[in-house]
Symmetry: C2
């Protein structure tokens, strides 16, 4: 499967700080950075205003960069309940923005992202930032951490998508094989 | 504070089943049912498609009934984590729909709703359905339960909003009083 030219938007979801990135797949495992940034919403503002602000920002990124696919970090369900709930509200709004534009969304757990980028599902922030800086050939480490995470998620998708596609194709071929097993001809014309 | 004519949309949030209602405030504590229904999304569909479907349905209700305010049940954070997360995604999408139309959103806990409707914060479903049927003068109990809950949340807002407003007004007056305490005149012209 050749992904060359595929534009991937990476999202590290959050309501107070949301990391956004766009990268483009090159030849083989090559990945080219296109954009990276962080959207912030004031924690003392009303939920409705925060979600509206986030929705506008994400829509603007999608309309400006026209990604083919969105890769998002799956929410880590432990920790402060009210932060998790806020992040879940934000995810709802961002998945909706993608759905409204017919852009497929893939979710990856933090350890899937870490494993794809560094080979170690428990890599720390420092290792991840160093790896993503090298992989994308950046002159300086991306800041803040949410921006680096958003890039890592997008690269994770670029590198995992061919494997996922190959797996799906194999499953589909196997299913086809099962369905199209030739029957014995019952007359001489076959 | 006279609420007469105020249109309240009540939402019992959920992704598989979401209860929606619209009621209108009459004189005093009178409440008039306008619409009630349940939006369902297939649990085997992708999250993106489910959120899009819910968003369209809620937008249609808001545009058809033009509520002045949305009252929503605050998510109960215990229970099945993946159901809670799905509901939180749905809440994000519905709060956004209200924000996009400049409709204020108020959240009430399940026990606030139960207390407002039945006087008992621990009332069971049967009691709640009986009360809401009587309060709204319905010829039959609303079904399913999500529809009855959506009506109860809207009525809860109608009955609590004047108290909240009075509390806010009192606090504001007290603050004004403190700020405008007359100074003693220092010359005879005062």
């Amino acid at each position: 499967m050749n992904l060359e030219g595929l534009r991937v938007m990476g999202i590290d979801p959050g309501l107070t700080r949301c990391g956004l990135s766009v990268i483009q797949a090159g030849k083989g495992r090559q990945v080219i950075p296109v954009a990276v940034g962080v959207v912030r919403t004031p924690s003392d503002a009303e939920l409705a205003h925060r979600l509206l602000r986030l929705s506008h920002a994400v829509a603007e990124w999608m309309d400006d960069y026209k990604p083919d696919v969105v890769a998002m970090e799956r929410i880590f369900e432990r920790g402060n309940v009210s932060t998790v709930m806020q992040t879940a509200h934000a995810v709802g709004v961002m998945v909706l923005a993608a759905a409204e534009r017919d852009i497929p969304v893939h979710m990856y757990t933090p350890s899937e992202v870490k494993k794809a980028i560094s080979g170690n599902g428990r890599a720390d922030k420092k290792q991840m930032t160093a790896m993503i800086t090298r992989i994308l050939g950046l002159s300086a480490p991306p800041k803040p951490a949410d921006a680096a995470d958003a890039l890592a998620i997008a690269v994770c998708h670029c590198w995992r998508a061919p494997l996922l596609a190959r797996g799906a194709a194999a499953a589909s071929l196997a299913a086809q094989g099962a369905a199209s097993t030739p029957r014995n001809p019952v007359n001489g014309k076959a």
